[in-house]
Symmetry: D2
Subunit: 144 residues, 4 copies
């Protein structure tokens, strides 16, 4: 369509596409800053489905992944009806926690609109930290 280089996917990155709705925008005319965290959640859900799991199943196996920290850098605004391409991958696998990293691009995957991360603990149903089990590491973590 044009000769602009598309941004390459990073290793292990899963793509999720998201259409900006009216309800996600604010009176400045752009995607509201808290909505990026909802989109991050949808992107890591797509990541989990791509790994052959669902977060629901992860919970049913007794592993919960509460968010310990979330960060977003806003580079260029998104607007109503924009189609966003969102990359999600695991970047810092540790014993009992890990990080999802996100990149939000425009429809052409050329312009980086935002990037962010969420750090998750692995806990049991009562919130006690647990070491990530092998089945979880194999599905979620990049090969060593």
């Amino acid at each position: 369509m044009n000769n602009t280089l598309r941004t390459e996917a990073l290793e292990g990155e899963v793509l999720y596409s998201h259409r900006v709705s009216y309800g996600e925008t604010d009176c400045m005319g752009v995607l509201y800053y808290a909505e990026y965290l909802h989109i991050f959640e949808r992107a890591r859900n797509a990541f989990t489905h791509a790994r052959g799991l669902s977060y629901k199943e992860v919970e049913e196996r007794g592993i919960y992944l509460p968010v310990r920290e979330a960060l977003c850098r806003y580079r260029s605004p998104a607007r109503y009806d924009d189609l966003l391409m969102v990359g999600c991958r695991v970047t810092r696998p540790r014993r009992a926690s890990f990080t999802f990293s996100y990149r939000i691009f425009d429809e052409e995957c050329v312009l980086l609109l935002a990037e962010g991360m969420s750090e998750h603990a692995c806990t049991d149903a009562r919130g006690k930290p647990v070491v990530a089990p092998d089945w979880f590491r194999r599905a979620f973590f990049p090969p060593a």
Copy 2:
């Protein structure tokens, strides 16, 4: 402040005030239509607190109040930083269900911006309909 007649409160109506945030507006510059249902929820929570209860306690006593139907009529838009005055009362007490009715006014309680209702069933924790117990009727329902 001025000689405009303020709207009178209706019998049993509890007032809740709400400041419109940026995140509640949309790119048309007004309060997004789904946000009214969030405000209705905050208004019926204020109603419940005014009756000496909290919805949390109602649930702890085994009564759940899932919404069966919700309706909102939008008369005049609300904008960022507007202070809204929201009236809430019980309008249709029945054996195992009832209705909350809402009126949203501007800060002066002169202009009616929206009105709506939510119909609630009384159920147990598993969602089975139950007759509203006496302590609940005394707190929530208007005197016969």
Copy 3:
């Protein structure tokens, strides 16, 4: 897959599929009642795209469609990670307003989870009611 009859699409109905996210659920474990109105918006956006337009273009042509009334009947709860099938169609075309009707089904299109409607005015940029222009009626309204 099974012998249950799928629900048939109604005339002019456009289907939109929606995955329930964590952020759309509440502490009762189900899709929060205000989120249905966000899903309705996404469904009418899908309807508009299926008609070869986008709501952004409609606005750029000078037609705005503010919501006058919205209603939802909640029949059976939806839960995290459920895939919902949402039907949307125009049901009451009038001179300067019309109604979108919605049906939300489970993934198999067998169980009706919710149904609702939103009534829209046709206005200019300043909110003044206008008669729906021909290009709009041809795209949105069912044939007479």
Copy 4:
């Protein structure tokens, strides 16, 4: 009421109280992680009102404050109907940008539930960075 030391307010910190609604919780039973950014917005709006301004007026004077980065650290979950005490202050005043820092406490101001920040640019209506004008610095920034 008890002998627990309340946390002291920091210099220039403005307090905002927020009741957690049903719609802000998720199916893990806690305040959803994106909702903290909505609460941050309400807290900086309370800060602005305490400084004798409103963000609406700031925009009307031609200064816009888009978010460049947002961060939240989640220490302990908040639940439905909890009353949160939120402290907000300006921490990094610069020429054309500044940072709001937030602390979210429980009702007693004893337990720190979350902390975060949002970095804002000062721009004109078209998004071009501008030096923060004197009236803005006097109202928002701590004395040197």
